[in-house]
C-alpha cells in the first residue's frame, strides 16, 4: 500500500535557525512528489515538484531534495512568515493522477 509519512509533526524554530522537514514514502513506481504550503484557514499552495532521485528545487529560503525513499524540505534562515503547515504528496504510475498526502509538518518560526 502506498504511504507517505512526514516528520516531525511540529517544529518550533527561532528566526534564523535553519532546519529540515522529512517526507518518507513507499509507493510503487513514483512518478512525482509535491511539496505544498498551507496557511491557517487556507487551501494548500503549491511549492515544488520533484521527479527523480537527486533532483533539487529552490525557492527563496526553501530547498527541496529527493532520494529513492524520502524527500527533504530544507529551510535556511527562516523568518516568521515561513510559519505554516508543509504538506508532502506523491503520485505513482497510475494514470488517474491521484495524490497521496502525508499528514504535514506544522512549522512555527519565532522572532
Amino acid at each position: 500500500e502506498d504511504q507517505v509519512t512526514q516528520s516531525p509533526e511540529a517544529l518550533r524554530l527561532q528566526e534564523g535557525e535553519s532546519s529540515s522537514l522529512n517526507c518518507s514514502y513507499t509507493v510503487s513506481g513514483l512518478r512525482g512528489l509535491f511539496w505544498y504550503r498551507q496557511d491557517p484557514g487556507k487551501g494548500p499552495e503549491f511549492l515544488f515538484t520533484l521527479y527523480s532521485a537527486g533532483e533539487e528545487k529552490e525557492k527563496e529560503r526553501l530547498k527541496a531534495t529527493l532520494t529513492k525513499k524520502e524527500s527533504f524540505l530544507h529551510i535556511t534562515a527562516p523568518k516568521p512568515e515561513d510559519s505554516a503547515t508543509y504538506l508532502c504528496a506523491v503520485f505513482n504510475m497510475d494514470s488517474s493522477y491521484k495524490l497521496i498526502f502525508g499528514s504535514g509538518t506544522r512549522l512555527l518560526v519565532r522572532p
Partner: protein, 115 residues
Amino acid sequence: NAGVTQTPKFRILKIGQSMTLQCAQDMNHNYMYWYRQDPGMGLKLIYYSVGAGITDKGEVPNGYNVSRSTTEDFPLRLELAAPSQTSVYFCASTDWTENSNQPQHFGDGTRLSIL
C-alpha cells in the same frame, strides 16, 4: 483569475440534513478533486473527475455523491449528514496530462460542522 472557488466557506448542519458544497474553477482544467482534511491529518480523497460526465471514487467516498455536468463545476453532495463528516473540505483542479505533471490547485475550503 479566480482559480478554484468554493462556497460556502462555513456551514453548520444538523444530523440527517443534506447539503451541496459548490466548487468552480475558471482555468479550463479537466481534472477535479474533492478532499477532506481532519485536524492534524493529511488530505483524504473523496471523489475525483477526469472530465465532464466522468467521476470516480477516491479513498473515502461513503456518505458523499458528486456530479460533473460541466468542465467548470464539481459539486459535492452530502445526503444524510453524520457527525463523522465534520471536517474541512477542499476542492482542487489540474490540467495534468501524461506528459506534464502539473500540480493541483486548491480552493480555500469549506468548514463543515455537523451537530
